[in-house]
Symmetry: C2
Subunit: 293 residues, 2 copies
Amino acid sequence: MELIDGKALALQIQSELKDQVEAYTLTGKRPPHLVAVLVGENPASRSYVRNKIRSCERVGYRSTLHHLEEDTSQDALLALIDQLNKDKEVDGFIIQLPLPRHIDPTAVILAIAPEKDVDGFHPTNFGRMTQGLSAYHPATPLGIMEMLRRYNIDTSGKDCVVLGRSNIVGRPISIMLSSKGNPGNATVTVLHSKSKDISSRCAQADIIIAAIGIPNFVKSNMVKPGAVIIDVGINRVEDASKKSGYRLVGDVDFEAVAEKCSFITPVPGGVGPMTVTALLLNTWKSYTGEVYG
Amino acid sequence: MELIDGKALALQIQSELKDQVEAYTLTGKRPPHLVAVLVGENPASRSYVRNKIRSCERVGYRSTLHHLEEDTSQDALLALIDQLNKDKEVDGFIIQLPLPRHIDPTAVILAIAPEKDVDGFHPTNFGRMTQGLSAYHPATPLGIMEMLRRYNIDTSGKDCVVLGRSNIVGRPISIMLSSKGNPGNATVTVLHSKSKDISSRCAQADIIIAAIGIPNFVKSNMVKPGAVIIDVGINRVEDASKKSGYRLVGDVDFEAVAEKCSFITPVPGGVGPMTVTALLLNTWKSYTGEVYG
């Protein structure tokens, strides 16, 4: 079994990005600029945003955080989005989810100009991605594709099951893996809450993408020897031995499954760091005009 | 085996639409208005467009045909699209594909306002559909979903294989069938040119959607007894006994497969008439403002 070290790979890609940024700024160009908008005080959201800002600093991007009060009105948020859409010094911005209940997340996402939607959540980017046009791909699946590519994992013609059909992971990764390309060209089945025979379907798969949000859902008996396991789950389970009172586990029963498979991502340190890096890659694409330029 | 009579079903839905149109126009409202744009003299395209116009007449829609010369410039076509986008008397319009080689079809599709894209080909509609937002769904998959719904064919938890991953059929029907809803909630696998074990995968499926463009590709041994067969193929094969010199066949070996399955669509008279009807349904949705209103 080989561990897919998402943390090390993320640092390597960020180091490459840093070199690219320097090459541009040395010629007098301004650095790429990512803006993050955080509404309220959700501790997990604060931690995610802090992490994104820190990653920007690491690669030499300019970053700006707009931290708005919990009771910010939807109109005020939409006004800020409008301003960011128009600001030529902003290459991309993200609205950290979840938002407070009084704000409609769909209205917010639709308000983001697709050209600056570096999270890849706007339907226009989603549709362009699906149709094979240039687009910002959603960050988590993009990070997974980059992991597969850098670890030379062959996906063409492989049987792949995706556990989960969410808009941010399951659905887009299923589309990306079954589209033409490398990685890609896999035979993909999307499994979800209404699917039958989930265990046996997993047990026949060459590649399992687990994005179902249930701790340790994928057991050893659901994995074919030599399969590739990508664990997208980030679940908090109580752990009295930790200072925080919890530890993070994935959707895969790591200890038991690791012995059987060919490649596996750990949690934490697998898909997570690659997601933040994918956001930096999208911001770079906006800066250079690769997608809508 | 029960034949899914797409032609009869299409006429029934069109009759329902006609009643709805009358109810609106009796109150003094103008009828829905669909515009078709045809560039050049491709005989199949002329026949498709004629068919669409005739269907509009049947349901009481106003229709307009812009038939442009083969050597129309891309700029001239884009100017017409811009005019149609702005025309408040036009509810929706379609640009019949394929276009002459000197015109970029992607540039043309991107120029259509999503609000009038009743073919459902614009990436914004595609992304909205995928994300579960209101949207114009691509006509052929929408017609298939309507057929499944009206024939009370249960898809929830069923194993479904989709043969083909095109942007206009395979990809969108795979998304629609595996999304939440009824029809929907199926466990869908997309098969394509790089997939292995296609025969045995088909033979395990409860539902087969064949959209691969190869005459008689799906043989009897690839079909599980009692399966549901939706044949999207429209292939011309030479036939000296016909005046035209050809006949239309689907992607399914109809005679042999019909004996084994529970439901099957014929070619012609199956998916084809439902595609035109789906276009009318999308135009109705634009007229009433259900999608972007």
